[in-house]
């Protein structure tokens, strides 16, 4: 395949969820850069993989399928490391599906845990629209805010690693706000790799709106120290603060040092110097380290949750080490006898 057409209903991954449906999908044999709408093929002798569809459902890509996704970087604490090579993806080259949302790039490293999205695919070409211009997700990002910043409080959820319970903590904060009568709450997954299913949970639990980096034109906030990331975070925050809302709940994907979380915190503190912070930690020492790192940044943790609170002993140790209240969100009251 060099240049060609694909059917309008060709499978596409959720990182392209803001790209409108195309009457005709045409592609060219050109290098693919971050955010470009690109066609990939899973070879006929491969195992099927699953990815997230733009609706949020789990979608199978079966051997022989051509599907749309985008080149992207990923530096995960627990799952997959991958990157876009200098110059972009080369047509005919073989790459890997690095994330459920449809990031594709060179595989750098892979943890032992099972990943249903991880499969080797061939890069076919870059999709272009009317006028012959290549399509990129940043062309479909939210517009610049028209209203000025509003003075809503910010509840920030940070974690010591992936899978430390950040989304659970964020949902609990959101639910608390709603139950306390705050009718309109905005949710933002500010850093890391996007997943529609994740921000949809915030909507399920009562967020008036929920956003991630795809809404601001980026397929992921990796790699660390990338050019222009502060400008993206500025746009993200200004947009969220421009919306009429009683509160903003922000979840930072990854750990404190990855996914450009430090750059995000800098941008946030210019607007809200003293956000309320919930720390999700996998263990007491991780909680202690994160509390100290944040303290060095001038930020105080208000509450700790996550696996470091799974047993009364661990929870009490976390509280004693960090000097911060710790609660567990995954148990019934009384289930461990001393949850709060």
């Amino acid at each position: 395949m060099t240049n060609g057409h694909l059917p309008p209903d060709v499978k596409r991954t959720s990182v392209l969820r803001r790209v409108p449906s195309l009457a005709e999908v045409r592609f060219r044999s050109e290098c693919g850069e971050e955010g470009d709408v690109c066609a990939f093929e899973l070879s006929i002798d491969a195992f099927p993989v699953t990815v997230e569809a733009p609706t949020g459902r789990v979608m199978a890509i079966v051997p022989g399928d051509v599907f749309l996704a985008t080149p992207g970087h990923r530096q995960s604490t627990r799952w997959v490391d991958g990157k876009i090579p200098p110059g972009g993806l080369t047509p005919g080259g073989h790459y890997w599906v690095l994330a459920d949302c449809g990031l594709v790039g060179e595989l750098v490293g892979n943890s032992p845990s099972e990943k249903n999205h991880l499969g080797r695919v061939k890069y076919v070409g870059k999709v272009y629209g009317k006028g012959g211009l290549g399509l990129n997700i940043r062309q479909f990002a939210l517009p610049a805010p028209t209203a000025s910043n509003r003075s809503m409080p910010v509840y920030l959820v940070l974690g010591t690693s992936g899978d430390s319970g950040k989304t659970t903590a964020g949902l609990a904060v959101l639910r608390t706000l709603r139950m306390q009568g705050h009718a309109t709450v905005t949710a933002l997954k500010a850093t890391g790799s996007p997943l529609l299913e994740e921000i949809s949970r915030y909507r399920d639990f009562g967020a008036a709106q929920a956003f991630d980096c795809v809404d601001f034109g980026l397929p992921a906030t990796d790699p660390l120290g990338r050019d222009g990331i502060s400008e993206t975070f500025d746009r993200m925050l200004d947009y969220c603060f421009s919306l009429p809302a009683d509160a903003l709940v922000v979840e930072c994907g990854g750990d404190l040092f990855g996914a450009n979380v430090p750059a995000f915190l800098k941008c946030l503190r210019l607007r809200r110097p003293d956000p309320k912070i919930v720390l999700a930690a996998t263990d007491a020492l991780g909680a202690l380290g994160a509390t100290r790192v944040l303290s060095d940044m001038g930020l105080a943790v208000s509450l700790i949750t996550g696996p470091c609170t799974d047993t009364p002993t661990f929870r009490e140790r976390t509280e004693a080490l960090c000097g911060v209240p710790a609660i567990n969100l995954l148990r019934r009251p009384g289930e461990d006898g001393n949850r709060i």
């Binding site: 659970t168 608390t176 306390q180 009568g181 705050h182 209240p325 148990r331």
Partner: protein
């Protein structure tokens, strides 16, 4: 207040009960919204019914047709 249960792609269950809400609200300083306070004040200061022939709930009750035996 009931519990909400989240069952995600991962085997986890999120329970948000009154105790959890109170704890999170306390530690994060989340106060009851003015909107809720205003509604509860409006409800508590609403004129009471004045019995037969008046208005409100008791009046509505008094004009209800007697149940057929």
């Amino acid at each position: 207040m009931g519990c909400l249960v989240l069952v995600g792609g991962k085997p986890q269950t999120l329970k948000i009960d009154a105790e959890t809400v109170q704890a999170i609200a306390k530690f994060l300083g989340i106060e009851r919204s003015d909107q809720v306070t205003a509604i509860s004040m409006a409800i508590s200061s609403r004129p009471r019914g004045r019995g037969k022939g008046g208005s409100g709930r008791s009046a509505a009750r008094s004009t209800r047709r007697p149940r057929k035996e």
